[in-house]
């Protein structure tokens, strides 16, 4: 990694214009319907300024602070997942003319730069890589994910704020981004500390009006990130978590959480690592062609996993148990890493404020109870 450099606040638009002239479509944070999401931008003027996100279990609000800062909110409901694993897309098409013929529908992935990915977002992407890219954990590469992944340029932002629902420090995934980015920024009062994480990032950085960061600036950035880590009020104790949860599959806490869980699947939709999906055919009206479509799905739906029309997990306690035991426990055996990156989105966006760290802690407090 190259020595840290500083981009003045007034020069931030240089970054966006450089990315655009280098052929990238630039996605920046946008405040839409009360939440931060990513959308295409043409200049730094379009970025929201002085916004903070108030997050609590079941609660998210954007608040104006009057500050000139661009990245004082932590994260919104979206992670990088949507940009790589599309919520809905065609896998292939098929025609019928006597016999059937299959056609590829690989996406024409466009070089895309995303500004403002957080450490948890990148950690989530690295977890999904293990699902969708062939390697030690998966025999098959998903070409749709791989095409977008290859063309994604990531401008990460280190968190100098934390939400009360965040627990990345305990999952060792943040708040500082360590890998998986092209450029990483840390916002200071007057500018942005810039680190490069890839040759593509170095190529962009070389075109920016950067100056060497002073030791004081580097220290200020480190201190702000450390303070964000220390400010986290939630944590997930992962010690022996596989044995803990699989040794307590009939614990009364599953009934307790089921009485609060609406089985709405919000937690799955906002989770940066959840990968479950369903497939269906969308046949043309003339009966001569059809599209094979995949769509995000969740282990909270009755259809998920159903065999011969019968739901595999008819009770909410079974579905919540499936989600949590997979996310934080069997994921480790399956992919060599936890499926939870500590972003806390599932806590913020749960309509009833269910907190997975609290659910694990409750079982840990009284292991061995039987419903």
């Amino acid at each position: 990694m190259a020595q840290a450099a500083l981009l003045d606040r007034t020069a931030f638009d240089f970054l966006i214009q450089t990315l655009i002239t280098q052929g990238y479509r630039v996605l920046g944070p946008q405040a839409r319907t009360g939440a931060i999401v990513w959308d295409e931008i043409g200049s730094a003027d379009e970025l929201p300024r002085g916004l903070r996100s108030e997050q609590q279990p079941g609660h998210y609000r954007l608040v104006e602070t009057g500050s000139a800062r661009l990245f004082d909110y932590v994260h919104g409901p979206e992670s990088l997942k949507r940009l790589l694993f599309a919520p809905e897309e065609s896998l292939w098409t098929v025609d019928r003319d006597g016999e059937i013929r299959f056609n590829e529908t690989l996406p024409a992935a466009r070089p895309t730069a995303v500004i403002g990915a957080r450490a948890c977002d990148i950690a989530g992407m690295l977890v999904q890589d293990r699902t969708f890219l062939a390697g030690p954990w998966s025999p098959f590469t998903d070409p749709y994910y791989a095409a977008r992944r290859e063309h994604l340029f990531i401008v990460a932002v280190n968190c100098t704020m934390t939400a009360p629902t965040c627990f990345c420090a305990s999952m060792d995934t943040g708040p500082r981004t360590r890998t998986g980015f092209d450029l990483a920024l840390t916002e200071l009062d007057d500018g942005f500390l810039v680190e490069t994480g890839s040759p593509a990032g170095e190529a962009i950085a070389a075109r920016l009006p950067l100056r060497p960061a002073s030791p004081a600036e580097t220290q200020a950035a480190d201190a702000a990130i450390d303070a964000a880590a220390r400010a986290q009020v939630r944590s997930l104790d992962q010690s022996g978590i596989v044995e803990l949860l699989f040794g307590n599959l009939e614990h009364p806490r599953w009934d307790d959480v089921a009485s609060r869980c609406l089985s709405c699947a919000n937690c799955v939709m906002v989770c940066p690592t959840c990968f479950c999906h369903r497939e269906h055919d969308a046949a043309a009206l003339d009966g001569q062609s059809s599209r094979r479509v995949r769509q995000w799905d969740a282990c909270f739906t009755l259809e998920h996993g159903s065999v011969h029309g019968g739901p595999l997990r008819p009770q909410i306690r079974q579905r919540y148990r499936q989600w949590l035991t997979h996310k934080v426990a069997s994921w480790i055996e399956q992919f060599g890493v936890s499926g939870c990156v500590g972003c806390g989105r599932c806590i913020t966006w749960c309509p009833t404020g269910i907190d997975l760290t609290e659910e694990v802690a409750a079982i840990r407090a009284q292991p061995g109870l039987q419903a």
Partner: protein, 282 residues
Amino acid sequence: MNAAVRPIPYLPQVAEIVARREEAAGIFTFRLRLKDPARRAAYRFQPGQFNMLYLFGVGEVPISIVSDPEDPELIDHTIRAVGRVTEGLARLGPGDTLGLRGPFGRGWPVEQARGRDLLMVTGGLGCAPTTSAIQYALQRRDAYGRIAIAHGVKRPEDLIYGERFDSWCAAPDTQVLLTADQAGPGWRGKVGLVTVLLDELDPAMFRGMAMMCGPEVMMRGTAEELLKRGMRIEDIFISMERNMQCALGHCGNCQFGKDFVCKNGPVFPYGEVRGLMRVRGY
């Protein structure tokens, strides 16, 4: 897009139905052949693996392969018309084309079982995956010890594969035992759960290997009985059924604890799944 991701794992191949055989009411066997000569020449499978079969405009279903792996150009599937896709497939016949992806998953340990006695336990309509292992062993009869096939059905009329059972009965050193939960007129098998058939076996059979397919409750009950009779847990194998949509470990529908049934199964050593099979709704 680099070449490494091709062939696209979601994209089916075109397969032609070269023959169709009726097995029983609503149950039929397709003999399929890939249209593309290069794909056809490269295709290999193991008994117990499955293919995803695609019906135009409707969807895909996982179906186990029941033919012999030494003749991989012809791929047999026994299908029961039970859902939208399989009912549509039932309307196809020789000359029609469908989509085929595969083979997927882990099959039966037929090589590991060489030289051993084999106890094949099958239940109801779930017996097709076991058929591939039975046929495999019978076609290499000298490579295996005694073979016992214990098959249970709910009612006598649920018995399918009549001809196959007859041919298995006639095979050397092969015992076929049948039971029905409820007997009817003319039923010559036993009455009761499939575990009643275990009493009919030479106890030395429990030092062999067991392969099972059928409802999970039946496989679990039988496996526990086999353990009581001294069979080693590492010699018991089961084939599990789950909803498989992508068959690649990507869609998540077939997750079973740390496993994806599509890639770590469908055949599992019983010891690997025993704990979770006890948990309702897992």
